[in-house]
């Protein structure tokens, strides 16, 4: 029973098609990545999933039922466009959002305080939102999306604008929620994050689905033609006939083998003139797969 299912969903704004015949499903407990460059249709798809806009055609099901507003109480949403009431105190704001999602005021306050402690912003809970840094405000929105214990968590570009410490903190929180069985959809154009966190992905480009499925399975469809090598000494092996493309950084190189290129031969050539510390034959990254799939035609 999928938590979210899109079946041939299409949405157009005037003459611009934002999403075209998009289909994918998100299973319970999955961490799902909705990927694509800016303007590819990720936010439009999410807005339709939670009823902010309606699809022109196709069907959306939430919790195995056609979309209905009452299902939204089971969803936590962090939009890409962050929004908070600037003049409100943090605690008031969280209580307000909690009560709108069906909590009692007391319960909302209790949970707001718990989350604030967990995300290390308890000291700011009585301040006005406008007095806080951007990163702190992002944490408040994060809490606001999660404090009603949603079964489905939708996060649009959740780590953008965060410093590495806070990004890791929120990333760990998401992993914790996943471990508790929550289903998480997050949309991003940062494919390296998805590769680390997600079980499954849907990759969209100009409103069309170009790839979908489990990350492991998608990657296994592509050949291992990437070599990372750490070395010292003679680098003439980088001009080997086995190589299609090589990037030489100081002490290490990233290599793409030719079609039919032999990695073992390359290793032998490298070892003949240089000292090898690491030689790894790798599968392509999601970013490389994406570029390969859409032919480098990315608009952002």
């Amino acid at each position: 029973m999928p938590v979210v299912e899109l079946a041939a969903v299409t949405k157009a704004y005037q003459d611009k098609i934002a999403v075209q015949a998009l289909s994918f499903r998100i299973e319970p407990g999955q961490m799902f990545g909705l990927l694509g460059p800016n303007g590819s249709g990720k936010t439009s798809s999410i807005r339709m999933m939670i009823g902010i806009t309606a699809p022109d055609s196709g069907a959306i099901t939430l919790f195995d039922k056609p979309f209905e507003r009452s299902s939204l109480k089971r969803v936590g949403y962090l939009p890409e466009e962050r929004g908070l009431y600037k003049k409100m105190k943090v605690l008031d704001q969280l209580v307000f959002m909690g009560t709108l999602r069906g909590l009692s005021a007391d319960e909302a306050q209790k949970r707001a305080v718990e989350w604030a402690k967990k995300l290390d912003i308890a000291h700011s809970i009585l301040k006005k939102t406008e007095e806080l840094s951007k990163g702190m405000q992002q944490k408040i929105q994060f809490i606001s999306a999660l404090m009603h214990n949603p079964e489905l968590i939708i996060m649009d570009e959740p780590f953008s604008g965060l410093d590495p410490v806070n990004a890791t903190l929120l990333q760990d929180t998401l992993l914790e929620l996943k471990a508790q069985g929550r289903t998480i959809l997050f949309s991003t154009h940062r494919m390296d994050q998805v590769e680390k966190l997600c079980d499954s992905i849907a990759l969209i480009h100009q409103g069309n689905l170009v790839l979908s499925g489990r990350v492991r399975e998608i990657k296994s469809r592509y050949k291992r033609d990437r070599v990372h090598i750490e070395f010292s000494g003679d680098d003439s092996f980088l001009r080997s006939e086995e190589i299609a493309e090589a990037k030489n950084y100081s002490g290490h190189a990233e290599i793409r083998l030719k079609d039919g290129g032999d990695a073992q031969k390359l290793l032998a050539e490298a070892a003949s003139g240089a000292t090898i510390y690491r030689f790894e034959l790798m599968e392509p990254s999601l970013e490389e797969i994406f570029i390969q799939t859409v032919g480098g035609n990315i608009d952002a």
Partner: protein, 419 residues
């Protein structure tokens, strides 16, 4: 319903706790009463304490004109009788002398009365200020009174009989209400209604614009996307209208309470008498609340829709004359309304929803409009509100998610079609 109340409560608390609410609650009536009292005082004191010279080719008539002017004790005028170079004749050199005195500011002005042997009397008033129509009015009355007295006496009427004939009578105003005559003070009734109309104008305008501003602030802070994942657009709009409307009503209640307490106090009794007596009935207070709510909802629905199509508060300011337009129309009719409150054009204006609250209250200053007209005006306002809400909710639903630039008219038309 729960969501609407939660949103209304948030709007209400945020506005009431804000500094603007405190400032407008105290400052607005203070400035308002100050301006009103000043205009009342300046009206009372206009044309008072003038130093005037009377130059008349007939010295006896000149003296009588002087007496008549001095008889008006409210004017507190100082009047000199001009000695012409050739008694019984006014010459250009006399006029030049008087003009020089006005120019030197020795006198405020002079009344020049030429009484030819044959033909009509010619009178002019030369003064430092061009628009002193109150003094000109007083001088004209004094001149005509003196001239009439002189003509009567020249026709053989004895001086005492002439005085008796010329005795003026003051007309007291009374109003017929429900078949009964009641003593009325036209000035105080008018001022009471005028104040209520002005208050109504300001509050409906301010709070209507507040809704527009609040929509733009939420749009700028991108809160809509978070909210719309939980509540429907119409719940957001309704909550906002209810919350901000409640703020307006609270402010009015504070003013009415403070005003009532002042009127009941000894200090109030000392000031609020005569022309400053307050003439407001309970029914008028009830209608004030009704017209406030209707006027506010009409304005705020309009500005909520408009706000959703705009990006900045500065852009909203450009549209504020739209809210002021009915006010200009209504107050431009003020003379007609006070003198003829049941004329066709006045009734029409009072039934035109944007003008209804103001014109109805200005009419009440002269006469309480018939109940059917009050009922019809409320019904028409409700229809207008329904119409404006129909457009606004459609613009609002789409506009709040459109960021980046002000919507053009063709875009707005498309939004209406989408909805």
């Amino acid at each position: 319903m729960r969501n609407i109340l939660l949103i209304a409560k948030r709007e209400y608390l945020e506005q009431v706790r804000g500094r603007t609410f405190l400032i407008t609650t105290i400052l607005l009536p203070t400035v308002f009463i100050g301006v009103f009292y000043l205009s009342f005082l300046s009206g009372k004191n206009s044309g008072v304490g003038k130093h005037i010279a009377v130059a008349c080719s007939n010295p006896a008539l000149g003296a009588e004109i002087r007496t008549e002017i001095l008889a008006d004790t409210e004017a507190k005028a100082k009047v000199d009788l001009f000695d012409a170079e050739m008694p019984g004749m006014l010459m250009d050199s006399d006029r030049a002398k008087l003009v020089a005195e006005v120019n030197d500011k020795t006198i405020d002005g002079f009344l020049w009365v030429d009484v030819p042997a044959k033909g009509p009397v010619v009178a002019t008033y030369d003064a430092q200020t061009a628009g002193d129509f109150v003094t000109a009015e007083r001088l004209q009355s004094a001149l005509n009174q003196a001239l009439l007295r002189r003509r009567l006496m020249e026709s053989g009427v004895a001086a005492s009989a002439a005085d008796a004939l010329l005795k003026t009578v003051k007309v007291n105003t009374r109003q017929v209400k429900n078949g009964q005559e009641v003593t009325s003070n036209a000035i105080s009734s008018f001022y009471s209604a005028y104040i209520m109309a002005l208050l109504l104008t300001m509050t409906t305008m301010i709070y209507g614009l507040n809704v527009g501003r609040s929509v733009i602030q939420e749009k700028t802070s991108r809160i809509f996307e978070v909210m719309l994942a939980t509540v429907r657009p119409h719940e957001m709009l309704t909550g906002k209208l209810v919350g901000i409307g409640a703020v307006g009503l609270s402010q009015i209640l504070i003013w009415v309470g403070a005003g009532g307490a002042f009127a009941a106090s000894a200090l109030g009794a000392q000031y609020l008498n005569g022309n400053l007596q307050i003439h407001i009935s309970v029914f008028q207070i009830f209608l004030f609340a009704v017209y406030f709510l209707l006027g506010y909802t009409l304005n705020s629905a309009l500005f909520a829709g408009l706000g959703a199509t705009l990006e900045t508060e500065q852009e909203l300011q450009q549209y504020s004359p739209l809210a002021a337009l009915p006010v200009w129309i209504s107050f431009s009719m003020i003379l007609l309304i006070s003198s003829n409150p049941n004329s066709f054009w006045v009734v029409l204006a009072s039934l035109f929803p944007p003008c209804t609250p103001i014109v109805m209250f200005l009419r009440m200053g002269s006469q309480m409009p018939p109940l059917w007209q009050i009922g019809a005006s409320i019904a028409l306002m409700l229809v207008a509100i329904w119409g404006v809400l129909w457009f606004s909710t459609r613009l609002y639903r789409i506009g709040i998610l459109m960021y980046g630039k002000r919507a053009t008219l063709p875009e707005m038309m498309r939004w209406l079609r989408y909805s």
